[in-house]
Symmetry: C2
Subunit: 348 residues, 2 copies
Amino acid sequence: MEIKDFLKRKSEWVKGEGPRSDIVMSTRIRIARNVNGHPFYNWADKTKRKEVFEKMMAAMKGAVTFKDAQLIKMKDTTPIERTFLVERHLISNEHTHDVDSKGLVIANEETLSIMLNEEDHLRLQVIKSGFNLMEAWKIIDEIDTNLGTHLPYAYSSKFGYLTACPTNTGTGLRSSVMLHMPALELTNQMERVYEAISKLGLTIRGFYGEGSEASGNFFQISNQVSLGHSEMDILDNFGRVVDKIIEREKDTRDYLMENKKREVTDNIFRSFGTLKSARIITSSETIRLLSAVRLGVDLGLIKEVTVTALNEILLLMQPGHLQVLNNEGLGQSERDIRRADMIRDKLV
Amino acid sequence: MEIKDFLKRKSEWVKGEGPRSDIVMSTRIRIARNVNGHPFYNWADKTKRKEVFEKMMAAMKGAVTFKDAQLIKMKDTTPIERTFLVERHLISNEHTHDVDSKGLVIANEETLSIMLNEEDHLRLQVIKSGFNLMEAWKIIDEIDTNLGTHLPYAYSSKFGYLTACPTNTGTGLRSSVMLHMPALELTNQMERVYEAISKLGLTIRGFYGEGSEASGNFFQISNQVSLGHSEMDILDNFGRVVDKIIEREKDTRDYLMENKKREVTDNIFRSFGTLKSARIITSSETIRLLSAVRLGVDLGLIKEVTVTALNEILLLMQPGHLQVLNNEGLGQSERDIRRADMIRDKLV
């Protein structure tokens, strides 16, 4: 299966289903693991990196859990394809450099992905549609347990799982949700949400990952606690905070529909009209318009488009996706044209 | 027939037919006449004003030319209805004040209108769709000649027709065209057009008449010469200038379609999308969007809407029209809502 064949299937989260999918686009859990007896990736030389890589690949090829998985060597991918994988949230930016001994394993409609030889030897990730912490945890825990029978993990009875960066030591767990919060943004409440979140030790960032600004009212909230609590406690605590934010967004949507219905509706339909009409469109405008249209769908104002279609556009509108889709390298102004064409193709 | 019944018919120019109707929305000719033996309106007292008004009304009621005409006494109209008539270009702003002895005569799908007791006793006006100076002249000349057999005009063999303001003395003629010049505006050529026009003794203003800024790329160009030339010479000269401006606009449209087709098309379809989608819209945004959509229709890019529909919206979107249409007084924010509703009603 080639990278461009990814376009033929939908990532599971794109379906836009699951609990509270009106506000929570997806839930993500990742765990960091390292193979015992091998130096951390950034301390290892070329040979050591290759060694642990081969060991991990062999273990996965042998394990029944991964019999339908796709194993990709990063060095076999082109730069555009790596960008494409970053855009799909399957690999980190870091994973696109020094690709010699890096790998990626994908299974289950991209629900599961594992980076091999990123900062840690193994970064397992599960992304599920909607607000689904327990479901995601169940999947990743099972994979992790199974994989542990094939690969000896670096583990200390005092600290827990050992990781390259101490912030990940302990459970190696990080959980996050991608939230769509147009009402909180519109009513200037995001400042307060930011404050509350950072006081609770959580981080917030944009749709496009680390360092990206929140755009189009899509916000990713992650927990940073890994050490000193059980996985269940961490997820439980994180889940309760997210619940509160969801409620606040929901209440504000209700308020807007009661008090500003015309203005909100106007913005939603104008955005939809522009999205269906533009012949040239930048990605930042697209994401802003998609946000408004998504709100329209969630509020029942727009019925002729599905959240799945909007999520697909959110993926496909990105530079790497547009280039894989068109099977050629494209400069920015050419992308702005192809983006508009792709959107009309999906919506009109 | 009541004022609101005007909405059931279309002004002839709204059809958007006639020569060069891709660029010339309408051609207008008006002539100023005064009744001999009566003081000019602004010099006359109440009684004298009434006297000449009754005389003119009687003459028209008797003349076969006006047997199907509508005779309106301005004092029988409400302020909103007067605004409505101004918006239809049937009366001037001045004609909405001191309405006691003012009148309006309308015939032939509003092609012909006559203001009684404006600055001059009689202001005859013919508006025709497209670029139609000779046709408009033929109609107004016939009416004028016929009316002259019922009413003795104030005329001097030295100066020609006498008028309240000396700039109108002579032929009493003023001709104008409403042009749509998006390409000249887009390419920043309007400055040069303004200069050329004022050097030639012509004036240029916006769609909404005297004092209004040109908005949405609609420009009204008028001749100011009345004295010292025959009507034919004046119209001939004016026509040749307008021809040149039309050619320039046409050439620039061709240039844009060859060199900026994507950008122009993008703007046209975005405008169309917004117009069909908005739930709140101001008049200045509407006119800007209508201009782009009209260009799209003229260039053959938009096929599902007619120029007639766009012209109708151009009329109906105005405050007076919206209020007559809705049969109630409306504040500005309420009008912005009703305007958007009316537009979707016409376009979607």
